[in-house]
Point group: C2
Chain length 276, copies 2
Amino acid sequence: METLEYRERPIGVFDSGVGGLTVAREIMRQIPNEKIVYFGDTARVPYGSKSRETITRFSEQIVRFLQTQQVKAIVVACNTASAYALDTLEKEIDIPIIGVVKPGAKVAAEVTRNGKVGVIGTEGTIGSGIYSSYIHQINPQVQVTGKACPLFVPLVEEGLWEDPVTDEIASRYLTELIDIGIDTLILGCTHYPLIRKTVGKIMGDGVTLVNPAYETAVELKALLEQHELLSPCPPALGENRYRFYVSDAADKFKRFANSIIKYGILSAKTIPIEEY
Amino acid sequence: METLEYRERPIGVFDSGVGGLTVAREIMRQIPNEKIVYFGDTARVPYGSKSRETITRFSEQIVRFLQTQQVKAIVVACNTASAYALDTLEKEIDIPIIGVVKPGAKVAAEVTRNGKVGVIGTEGTIGSGIYSSYIHQINPQVQVTGKACPLFVPLVEEGLWEDPVTDEIASRYLTELIDIGIDTLILGCTHYPLIRKTVGKIMGDGVTLVNPAYETAVELKALLEQHELLSPCPPALGENRYRFYVSDAADKFKRFANSIIKYGILSAKTIPIEEY
C-alpha cells in the first residue's frame, strides 16, 4: 500500500472547458474525502469538432501539467478526449487513468432490455464509434445508434437549459432515436446532464438515461479501492481541497462553474498549457 | 514602386475558422487579380469567447506563418482578432495590415441618419467596445449599442441559415436594438452575412445592414493602390491562385468552405500553428 501522504494526493480531472465539472461534481458527492485538481482547456475549447491528432496533442499537454500537480490518478472528464486520446495516454503514464466513455457504455449494455441503445454526443465522439465498440465488447448483440448534437453545448453555455428553443432542437436531434425504438440513451457529452430534463421529456418515461459522469465517479471509487489509493479521511479545514486551472478567461470560467458546483469555487488560475 | 514580382505576391487573410471566408470571397470578387493565402485556426476556433491575451498570442503565431508565405499585406478577417490584436500586430510587422472593424465602423458612421447604430458580434468583439470607439473617432454624437449573439455562429455552422429556430433566437437577441430605434446595424462577426436575410427580416426595411466583409475588401483595394501594391494582371492559369491552410480538420473545412466560396477550393493543408 502507498504511504498515507501518497494516498492524500489529489485526483486530476480534465476537460475541454466547463463540461467536465459535471464529472467533478459527482466525484465530490461520491468520494468526498478526495482532493481534486481540475483543468479546463478554455483557450482551445471546444474539442467536439476537432480531429483525433489535435485532441491527443492537447490531452498530452494537460496530462503533463496534471503530473506537475502530483496527482495520484487522472479522470479524462471529456467524452471526445476519452474517445480519441485515452488509449495513447494510458501507454504514456504509470498512474491509474480512466475516461468517461467506458463506465457509461458498461451501464448502458447492462440496463437495456430490448437491446437498442442510443448515444448522443459531439461530432468527434459519435464519429469515433467508441461507445458502440465498448458496448459490443460486453454484448455484441446490442444495436447502438449514435447521433451528433452540435448545438447542445452552445445552448447549455448560453444558459438555455429549459427553453422552447432547446426543446425544438432536441426534438429534431432525437426523432430518429425515438423512431428506432431505443430504450436506453447515453448522455455522451459532459454538458448534457444539464439538459437532462429536456431530453427526458422528449424521449419519454420508457427510455433510461445513462449519465456517464455518475458512472465514472462510481468506477473511479472502485479503481482507487483496488489500487489502495483511497484517501482515508477528509482534507483538513483550510486545505486547498478543490483547485481549478484553465488555459484562458479564468473569471468567466468561475462564473459558469459556480452555477454548476455548489461547493464554492474560490479561485481559478490561468496557466499557459501550450508550454507543457 | 515595388517590383512586379513583389506586387504579384499574395494577400494573407486569416480568421479563427471558416467565417473569414466571407471576407476572402469579397476580395475575390472586388480585386480578382490578387492571389490569397487563407489561414483558418480550426484547432482553436472559436475566438469570440476567449481573452485578449490569448487571441493576441494566437494572432501573432498566424502572422508569423503568413509571413513565411511571402504575403505583401494581411487582412485580419475576424472581428474578435481585429478588436483585440490588431494594434499589437501593426507594431510588429512592416507590411500593410487591416482588420474588419474599422471599415465597417466608418461606413456605419456615414450612413446612419438618426445617429443610432447597433452592433452585433461575439462576446469578445462586443465586450471590447471597439466598434463604438472607432465610430466615435469619426462622429462622437453617434449612439452605439452592442449586443453579443453567442448562438449565431453555432447556428450558422449547423447550417440553419434560414430556420424557425434561428428566427426565434435572432428575435430575442435583436429586440433591444429594435426598441432603441437604431437605423443602422453592423454585422460584426464574419459568420453573420450568412444569416443576413434572417436579420434583415427581423430588423425591417428601415434598418441598413452594414457588412464589414464588403467594406474591408473596398478598403483593402484602396490600401493596395495607395502603397502601389495592386497586382497588375490576373495570375497565370495553373498558378496556385487561392491557397488554404488550417490548423486542424482540413477535410471538414473544405466541405464548409465550398458551401461559401464558389471558386472551388482545390485543397486545404493542415499546419502546426503552435510552432510558429
